[in-house]
């Protein structure tokens, strides 16, 4: 019931929000339209559909090992999801590397459930009827960090190295357009077309942005994670395809998360 109602509202409001955009006056911004859109939803967010599915996926016995994910350690102990996302990325002793939520979930699904990484990655981003289990699990786990302040351990040398790499990457200019992350995210209160941009190398901008991912993207009709956001930024930077879970993806996530330290998680949110 709630599923149908949320879906119906999502569709209705997605159409509704286009109207004010088309007749927008110079003073109003996309932020106002999005704020209005969120207000119309009240407590309903289509992300709820992903969240419910993610909860099922977490609790169901699945894969060749017929196991649920209650043994999955996201950093706060096996099976603990409360506040876990607000402490990621972090270094994990069993894999010996720094992992974000997406890559850590893949570790759990392969190790505990015996699934093949290639099969999981084949549907890393959902598309219409072909929904992603990973996006659903991310929605479920991230939701359990709502209200928690971002607080990374940042004690392991690999965590510090990931942050330093992320910082260097943020300003790295390349490609036919000379773009870096900083080209568009170097100042607060600037727009691209009508989209307000955040300065992501300072606390305010990073908190505004980071605490609202993952998000239900109205324009895509899908719930998207930080891994999706970063690879789409690089696509727009005219760069080659960013690999899922790559060193660059983890490092930039670490840079954004650490800059957002202290910000209160409000994801999954609704975005354009």
């Amino acid at each position: 019931m709630i599923n149908n109602r949320a879906l119906w509202k999502a569709w209705l409001l997605a159409v509704g929000v286009m109207v004010p955009w088309n007749t927008v006056n110079a003073e109003s911004s996309s932020e106002d339209a999005i704020a209005e859109y969120r207000a119309m939803f009240g407590d309903d967010n289509p992300a709820e559909l992903w969240l419910i599915r993610g909860k099922d996926l977490w609790q169901q016995r699945r894969g060749p090992k017929n196991a649920d994910l209650s043994g999955c350690d996201l950093g706060r102990g096996p099976g603990v999801i409360e506040g876990a996302y607000a402490e990621l990325p972090r270094w994990f002793a069993d894999t010996g590397r720094v992992q974000d939520l997406e890559t850590r979930l893949i570790t759990c699904m392969t190790m505990l459930q015996g699934m093949a990484e290639a099969d999981i990655l084949a549907v890393r981003f959902g598309d219409g009827d072909n929904k992603s289990d990973l996006e659903a699990l991310v929605a479920y786990v991230a939701d359990a960090s709502k209200g928690h302040a971002v607080s990374l351990p940042m004690t392991h040398s690999q965590e510090k190295a990931a942050y330093a790499l992320g910082a260097a990457l943020f300003y790295h200019r390349a490609g036919p357009h000379d773009y870096s992350c900083n080209t568009c995210h170097g100042e607060n209160k600037k727009r691209i077309r009508l989209q307000a941009m955040s300065k992501l190398d300072d606390a305010k901008g990073a908190r505004d942005a980071y605490t609202h991912w993952p998000a239900y993207r109205v324009s895509q009709g899908e719930l998207r994670t930080m891994e999706w956001r970063l690879q789409d930024c690089y696509r727009q930077q005219r760069m080659p395809q960013l690999k899922f879970g790559s060193e660059v993806a983890i490092a930039l996530t670490m840079f954004l998360a650490k800059n957002a330290e202290g910000g209160v998680m409000a994801a999954p949110s609704i975005k354009r």
């Binding site: 790499l165 260097a168 773009y179 696509r235 760069m239 060193e247």
Partner: protein
Amino acid sequence: MRLDSYPLAVMIVILWSQAGAFARANEMSASDVTTALRSSFVAKGQATMERLQQDETQTLCTAHARHPLPPEVAEHVSALNRVTIKPPANGQYLGDFKRGEIVALSGTGLQSSDDPAKPAGGNCYACHELAATELAYGTIGPSLRRYGKLRGSSKVTLEFAWGKIYNSNAQTACSRMPRFGHHGILSEQQLQDVMAFLFDPASPVNQ
């Protein structure tokens, strides 16, 4: 070495190596970044792995991104880019403003998801205000409203604007604006059309 100083020497070596590791963890060398980039991307469509390779301008602008650009670096970057600017072969700076408007509105081109057979856009509206009728404009760059009307179209003014669009780094080292002519993002004809969009008295920019 006296036997009792041996533990001290070991200590110093350990501390030294730890300090090195700490410094490495907090500062990335350009080669560390290059290695990470090479292992983290795959070519897709027209977005090849060569795009990860920086030219001298990109290298210098990256190295100085977090603090004000030293004047000597700014002058060097400007000089590097100034020599790349080619005036239009037919001597005409102004093309068709209507076609120029299409270039200014289009944000696609050169992305891994774009068809390389189709012409790229200039995406001017992403960052600039231009025609009064287009309300969805960005604010990263300055407003170009009534560009030609306010400045006239003397040869010097036309050359200035052509140079800015052809290679923004010639006038402003490490500008955030792409080097549309130098990198071949826009064709010479498209550059002429965008120029007309800015300067033609009949262009919506100048209404």
